[in-house]
């Protein structure tokens, strides 16, 4: 009998179920000072919440939000061209669905309980959003496209998993198509860049700047780590100066100084100048994130690759960089989130992205003094995007963690 391991030691510890009273006793009122803290915080929360609720339902005039929804989302984009944006959103929905389905191809359930609840919530939101009825149908349509894409992506992923490497390429292609849809030309009516605005401009600016700063950041990180003194010094100077300056001064540099350094008569577009400023800024920060990843790779990797006869460029591009980038994904996503937030500074140099649009709405005499309603609304928008990104980054980190632990 002794050879048989006793079953009791194999069982997980018992889960203690506390009654509501015990839970309160343990978590809120276990000592006299915790009781004090609990009471203090509850009183404070009670006062704040009651004041907030009474403000939200009596004093606040929420009509400023639905009246300006198109402005918040797409700025002063001509309304007879909205169909282009809807087509664009449709394509984005399908492709994100496919990507999602493809990434989740090995999981048992595509639609887990949490996903279904989220989707249902988004669906209800789409129905109750105070916009013309046709837009509600379009929003539901986008949701259906997303679901169809997810189902299709999972099917494709299970039958032909090799197609996955085309996904990043198709996203890149989609970005170019998006810029064409927004800007026009090539058969579409041209929409001047001063009409681009709102959330659309925020997203466009942050995506384009991060994509541009990515290769520059990698080069700078490699340069800072390189054994060639001149390249190392130049990269270090660039990184340290840019990181020492506030973003607003770099945007100022982009808007004011750039035209001075260019040949006479060339005045790049305002948006282009802002993108150059943002790219200069975020490439320095990305370089430091990637450098962290580079430093995490053991020397043995380089030495082993050299011993196999690879030359330096091959060692870097095949062995070191892929590992370093994987390590630095969390900090790169963090950088992307902060760049997304930093695009608000463009409103100071006169671009009407989401915050700039809100400020110009508030300048309208009709909506004077409606600060809190507008800022709460766009605050929630920013929060949803940033929170979603940080959750996605944590998931990605877990998925890419191939170390055997």
């Amino acid at each position: 009998m002794t050879s048989v391991p006793s079953t009791s030691s194999q069982q997980p510890p018992q889960i203690v179920v506390l009654s509501a009273k015990e839970w309160l006793q343990k978590n809120l009122f276990n000592t006299w000072y915790n009781t004090l803290i609990t009471l203090g915080i509850s009183t404070l929360l009670f006062f704040m919440l009651t004041r907030f609720i009474s403000w939200a339902f009596t004093l606040a005039k929420w009509s400023v939000i639905p009246a300006n929804l198109p402005l918040f989302f797409v700025g002063r984009f001509p309304s007879d061209q909205y169909w282009r944006l809807w087509i664009m959103l449709g394509i984005i929905s399908i492709l994100s669905g496919i990507t999602w389905g493809f990434l989740a191809r090995n999981s048992r359930l595509l639609f887990s309980k949490n996903t279904l609840v989220t989707l249902g919530f988004v669906g209800i939101l789409a129905v109750i959003t105070p916009v013309p009825i046709i837009f509600r149908f379009l929003l539901i349509g986008m949701l259906l496209l997303l679901l169809a894409g997810a189902w299709g992506g999972k099917t494709i992923g299970n039958t032909q998993p090799k197609l996955g490497k085309w996904l990043p390429f198709s996203w890149f292609l989609l970005l170019i198509v998006c810029i064409w849809f927004i800007g026009g030309g090539l058969g579409l009516k041209v929409v001047q860049t001063n009409l681009w605005g709102g959330l659309m401009l925020t997203l466009l600016m942050s995506i384009v700047s991060i994509l541009l700063s990515f290769p520059i950041g990698i080069l700078l990180a490699l340069g800072r780590q390189s054994g060639l003194p001149i390249i190392r010094i130049l990269s270090t100077i660039y990184i340290e100066i840019i990181r020492g300056l506030p973003l607003i001064t770099i945007l100022f540099m982009g808007q004011v100084l750039l035209p001075l350094f260019l040949p006479e008569g060339t005045r790049p577009d305002r948006i282009l100048r802002a993108i150059i400023g943002l790219t200069m800024f975020s490439s320095a920060y990305l370089a430091e994130n990637i450098r962290g990843g580079l430093q995490a790779i053991p020397r043995g990797q380089t030495e082993a690759a050299k011993a196999l006869g690879l030359n330096t460029p091959l060692v870097v591009s095949l062995i070191i960089l892929p590992q370093a980038l994987k390590v630095s994904i969390p900090s790169i996503v963090g950088q992307f989130i902060s760049l997304f937030q930093d695009t608000t500074l463009l409103s100071i140099v006169g671009l009407v992205e989401l915050l700039g649009m809100s400020r110009s709405i508030l300048a309208n005499p009709k909506f004077l003094g409606r600060y809190l309603e507008v800022y709460l609304f766009i605050g929630i928008l920013y929060w949803i995007f940033c929170y979603a990104m940080s959750v996605a980054s944590q998931k990605l980190e877990k998925q890419l963690n191939t170390e055997h632990k």
Binding site: L28, N34, I231, T249, E264, Y371, Y375, Y382, W383
Partner: protein, 387 residues
Amino acid sequence: MTTNGDQKIPLWRDDRFWRIALQILVIVIVVSVFALLGGNLTRNLRQTGNNFGFDFLKTSAGFNILDSLIPYTPTDPYSRVLFAGLLNSLRVMFFGIILTTLLGIAVGVARFSDNWLLRQLSLIYVEIVRNTPLLLQLVFWYGIFVQFPLIKESLNIFNSIYLSKQGIFLPWPSGIQGIIGLGILVICAIAAFIVSKRRTKVMVERGESGQPQLITLGIIGIIALLTLTVGLNWQRPMFNPTTNTIEGGLRLTIEFTTLLVSLVVYTAAYIAEIVRAGIQSVPKGQWEAARSLGLKSGLVMQLVVFPQALRVIIPPLNSQYLNLAKNSSLAVAVAYADVYNVANTTFNQTGRAIEVMLIIMATYLTINLFISLGMNQLNRSVQLRER
């Protein structure tokens, strides 16, 4: 072809050659880009008729600023208004760094509280603040503060704190007695710090009761309390109905308060996460070992865990201080006269883009350098000294 030549590596496969060639190539590219840009610059400057130079700093600025620590009138030269802006920036950075550290550590430690409500509250605070842009928070606070009433019907708390559109008025020590009082308070704080350190030392090392030190601490506390209540010669702000102003006390403008509050609230959320990560990085065994030696949980934190956590905390804390210093340039969004805002106005009036940019760059890089130097010094003092 000699036999020797056969063994030579061809030039294009020689690593040494490429190392030198690559560096020369980079120098050539950088120099030619700079030459091209510089050439364009001189041509463009000649076109506008502005010669490079800092002479404009001596001319009269002609614009007024709201907040100034030094006497300033619009007839003063640009150099003086820039200096006033610099002082304003430094004021925000100084108080910002102190307040954000206090709030950040408090919120970070609250994550380990055994009070469920406090833990959740600090989690919610961090999640909300870190996922919304700073500039949005800034204009949000400004939106709240500008809705304060006019000075006539200003909100007053116990007749000593006034909240109004024109500013926030607080009681403040006044006169020579106030300065002496402040001096006594500083001495008391230093003495209390030394005594309490000594108390922990004798209690931990010699197992003594620490009673005499406790009594000393009590006496210091009483002296400090007396100084605080009567010795400082507090001056309360008073509302004067005839001139419709509030006189006396300390006046914080709405712009300064907005900037300070939003910087502190924003940066503290990041510091809270840094503190949390630092405390979590201390192995559990350290807690358990310290407890098994008989230390109470407050002392465990103070003597064992926090000193070790500091090693992890200080380097990222440095970059948060730098961020706070840089983010203070967002003052321009609420028209607070910080150095960037003043420089921006100077540029708009004089058109001296290059010179103004150089001044801004020099200012921020110097400030960053000093913060980093200070933090590195601090870092060295807490670092692990290995044999």
